[in-house]
């Protein structure tokens, strides 16, 4: 994390562009520009700026947005719920659909079922998420009027409204994850099904479902868990396109806005948050490994 913090800090300072200039607007006088710089501490040497920033960071202060003047912590706080909701719903839906699909495809390897699942998965990869999003909106929101077109309601406002608005973005997003996870599951299962212990399991005379679930799937789980984990991390750190299509105030859009405005504190906080998510997710993946495979020890 420390390395990430330093890297982020330097990277942003080294990219061209002056936040003071953006803040001050096109007609600013040099004096006004200078005043803004001083107030933001931008005139201090880099090392001093860095130490100040880290010191605040360790005290839980992520700084104040250069643009909106709101504390960064609060800005992110507002945006976290939609993002986490989408990520969780998407990954849950994807796993529920994709893992069985992958298992069945591997089990019925070479049959039309297998080809159908793989065809679906190619489709999932190739159709861009905004296309899926707009198609879903057109059909379910505009034509059938089953759900609202867009927006987000906090779960504290009741499960119904929350769920209603969650359904379409989740479906749209999970499309590609279903494709990815199904493919991964199938490949891992095919590998495992050729193993000697699967033959042993069959030689015991236990039924095929038990062979698949107890013997094959658990051994195939490691690569699948990895994909699910990294997929989840990607989802948390923002899905700009989906958030834009469905007008959801999530982290993805916050990041893009901050980058465009060179809002240093927000960008820094976002990158740190993202890397934190990755670290935590990877830790969870590693823990899952040791639970799944007794041979793996750290």
């Amino acid at each position: 994390m420390g390395v990430v913090a330093l890297f982020v800090f330097l990277l942003l300072r080294l990219t061209p562009g002056d936040p003071a200039a953006i803040l001050a607007g096109d007609n600013a006088t040099p004096e006004r520009l200078e005043r803004i710089r001083t107030s933001l501490g931008l005139n201090e040497p880099l090392i001093v700026q860095f130490i100040t920033w880290v010191n605040k960071l360790l005290h839980g202060d992520l700084g104040t947005s250069l643009i909106s003047n709101l504390p960064v912590m609060k800005m992110i706080g507002q945006r976290v719920e939609p993002s986490i909701s989408i990520a969780l719903c998407t990954i849950i839906l994807a796993v529920i659909v994709a893992v069985p699909l992958g298992v069945i495809a591997a089990w019925k390897h070479g049959t039309w079922i297998d080809r159908f699942v793989m065809g679906l998965s190619v489709l999932g990869f190739s159709v861009p998420v905004f296309v899926v999003g707009y198609v879903l909106i057109e059909v379910f929101a505009l034509e059938l009027r089953w759900v609202p077109v867009q927006g987000f309601k906090s779960i504290s406002a009741g499960f119904g409204p929350f769920f209603e608005r969650m359904i379409l973005p989740t479906c749209a997003l999970s499309f590609i994850y279903i494709a990815l996870i199904a493919r991964m599951t199938r490949a891992a299962m095919l590998d495992v099904l050729g193993e000697d212990y699967v033959r042993t399991a069959r030689a015991k005379g236990i039924n095929e479902v038990a062979v698949m679930m107890r013997h094959a799937l658990r051994n195939a789980a490691v690569p699948v868990i990895t994909v699910i984990g990294t997929g989840f991390a990607l989802l948390i750190s923002g899905v700009v396109v989906t958030e834009s299509v469905f007008n959801i105030p999530g982290i993805g859009r916050l990041t893009v806005d901050a980058v465009l405005a060179r809002d240093y504190p927000v960008i820094q906080a976002m990158i740190l948050l993202t890397s934190l998510v990755y670290v935590v997710v990877n830790l969870l993946i590693d823990v899952a490994y040791t639970l799944l495979d007794p041979r793996i020890r750290y």
Binding site: E195, R199, T200, A201, A203, G205, I206, R218, N219, D293
Partner: protein
């Protein structure tokens, strides 16, 4: 019958009427004119072409054959475990206690497995599910086929684990497979196969992956359990030594056909078919070949107190140290063969790899043609590499599949500055030297059989005119008839080129036939060393004696179709 509860469902199907009929012959497995083809279409290639064998109660039938003879396919057909769609039984019948297997439903086959017929496999390392404790894996059999409650099941499993002589059964019950040794895993497999007392046990090369001492224990275990339970055993193996140890009757297979079948003694003493005779004649004798006169040639390779220690770093606490080779000293003279023999984990391959500097020794010296090479840098080593070349165990993986044979052989000399055309010309000569056509240079490895590939690997090693050839289990993956040919080839090359050979093997028979001197290793240390004829006939150390004693079929002199004892005086007077 003591397998009460789980049988209740099937008894009505198989028992009445059958019993009387089969008491007459006691035939458990009756394979009649079986044909197995590739694919469903008629006219597909026949993997099994009309074989008929019977296995009776309390009998062990050994199905012997070289790779590709169809012995494993026969066993998988019996279990109904053929890969669906690729291999299909297209004719004949397989009857288990009178019940036809080939037309049985999947459901019925599942019922029969483990209760009536069970199987153990070659690789105990991979045959158990790595993520499930072994006790639960055995438990699964009981849960699938019986209505016993958890306590009764566990009692039965622990009892079975004791019958296969596992120590500390409670601990092993909860252990994962990777915590157990190969021998222990195979015992678990046997316990799993026999826990429901099936009438037929199919053992597919169950000891091939094990060390000889473990192999001996497993073989006697199978014998013992068979005696106690009256099981019929179909034992598949390629190893004549194992056949001599365990078989009551022998069936010899070749290319999907049955060559010869008969009682053990008859087949070993008076084989009627040419193929069986050749197969037996190719088994290397455990009696060492007559020693060659002592060599006065210069020493080309010397290892002096060579050690290799692997340090395992632990995140917390102290790291572990594994001494793979501990002060190994050996000398090899020009034109001689030195064997390093030992079981897995004895450090024999580590020593070979340190000598060739594929890995760096931790301490000690290696003198190659008078030059110390153990601690010189990789760059300084370069000119010396050509003096020592290595041939590996697995000819299927040691040649680059995308490079032609000629380029593979020529690569070494080209690295040392030989012109491409000259190197290819030399490759053609070398291929002829190892008994392959010169035009093989332009072909790819997959176009050759295992034995031919090993010849190519030898030609590749010889291309650099080395002083020393290291053969690391170079014949272990080959069928006996091919193995004999490759051994002859090495011998011939040595006579012609005066090359020194360092021969690493776990197989005492092979060592007895090719080595002038042997070094016996255990746990990284040299236990005993000396002239092969001396060490292998009058071993001094207990470990060497145990190794020799465990060698399967040690009482048989296969090539002369008689027990060793009868031949004493004729060939084994040493």
């Amino acid at each position: 019958m003591c397998c009460g509860p789980m049988d209740s469902g099937l008894a009505t199907l198989s028992r009445p009427g059958m019993t009387e009929r089969f008491d007459v012959t006691n035939t458990i497995l009756d394979i009649n004119n079986l044909v197995v083809s590739v694919g469903k279409k008629p006219g597909g290639h026949k993997i099994i072409d009309g074989i008929s064998i019977q296995v009776r109660e309390r009998e062990t039938l050994c199905l012997v054959g070289e790779s590709g003879s169809g012995k494993s396919v026969t066993s998988l057909t019996t279990m109904g475990l053929l890969p669906k769609g690729t291999l299909v039984p297209t004719g004949g019948s397989v009857k288990l206690v009178g019940e036809e297997i080939l037309t049985a439903t999947d459901r019925r086959l599942r019922q029969l497995r483990a209760t009536q017929m069970a199987m153990i496999f070659q690789e105990p390392m991979t045959a158990l599910n790595p993520v499930v404790p072994v006790g639960r894996q055995i438990d699964e059999v009981l849960r699938a086929h019986t209505k016993l409650d958890a306590r009764a099941r566990k009692k039965r499993i622990l009892d079975m684990m004791e019958q296969v002589h596992l120590p500390q059964v409670e601990r092993i019950f909860a252990s994962y497979p990777h915590r157990l040794s190969g021998g222990q895993r195979q015992r678990i497999m046997i316990a799993m196969a026999l826990v429901l007392e099936p009438k037929l046990l199919i053992a597919d090369e169950p000891t091939t992956a094990l060390d000889v001492t473990t192999q001996k224990q497993i073989l006697s275990l199978i014998r013992e359990l068979q005696r106690d339970h009256g099981t019929a055993v179909l034992f598949i193996t390629h190893d004549m030594g194992v056949v001599a140890e365990i078989a009551d009757r022998v069936a010899v297979m070749r290319q999907g056909r049955l060559v010869e079948t008969g009682p053990l003694d008859t087949v070993l003493r008076n084989p009627t078919m040419e193929y069986t005779r050749n197969l037996l004649a190719a088994v290397p004798s455990l009696v060492p070949r007559p020693p060659r006169e002592e060599s006065r040639e210069p020493v080309v390779l010397e290892a002096n107190e060579l050690s290799k220690v692997y340090k395992e770093r632990a995140f917390f606490g102290k790291g572990r140290e594994v001494v793979a080779a501990d002060k190994v000293t050996l000398t090899l003279r020009k034109g001689r063969t030195l064997g390093i023999v030992g079981e897995s984990g004895s450090g024999k391959s580590t020593v070979a790899r340190c000598i060739v500097r594929l890995i760096d020794p931790t301490s000690g010296g290696v003198r190659l043609a008078g030059r110390e090479i153990a601690d010189i840098s990789r760059r300084l080593l370069q000119p010396h590499r050509q003096k020592i070349q290595i041939v590996f165990q697995d000819p299927y993986r040691s040649l680059n599949p995308r490079v032609t044979v000629g380029e593979s052989i020529a690569e070494g000399p080209i690295n040392y500055g030989v012109a491409h055309a000259d190197a290819i010309k030399r490759a053609r000569e070398l291929l002829e030297l190892v008994g392959l056509p010169a035009d093989a240079v332009s072909r790819y490895p997959h176009q050759f059989s295992g034995g031919q590939r090993q010849r190519i690997a030898i030609a590749r090693a010889l291309a650099l005119d080395p002083d020393v050839l290291v053969a690391d289990e170079a014949v272990s993956a080959l069928d006996v008839s091919v193995q004999a040919q490759v051994l002859d080839l090495l011998d011939e090359i040595q006579n012609r080129l005066g090359i020194a050979i360092l021969f690493i093997t776990h197989d005492l028979r092979v060592a007895a036939q090719i080595c002038d001197e042997v070094v016996v290793m255990q746990h990284g240390r040299v236990v005993e060393q000396g002239p092969a004829a001396e060490v292998l006939t009058h071993p001094k150390e207990a470990y060497t004696k145990a190794l020799l004693d465990a060698a399967p079929g040690r009482n048989w002199d296969f090539a002369n179709f008689r027990p060793v004892a009868e031949g004493v005086g004729a060939s084994a007077s040493a």
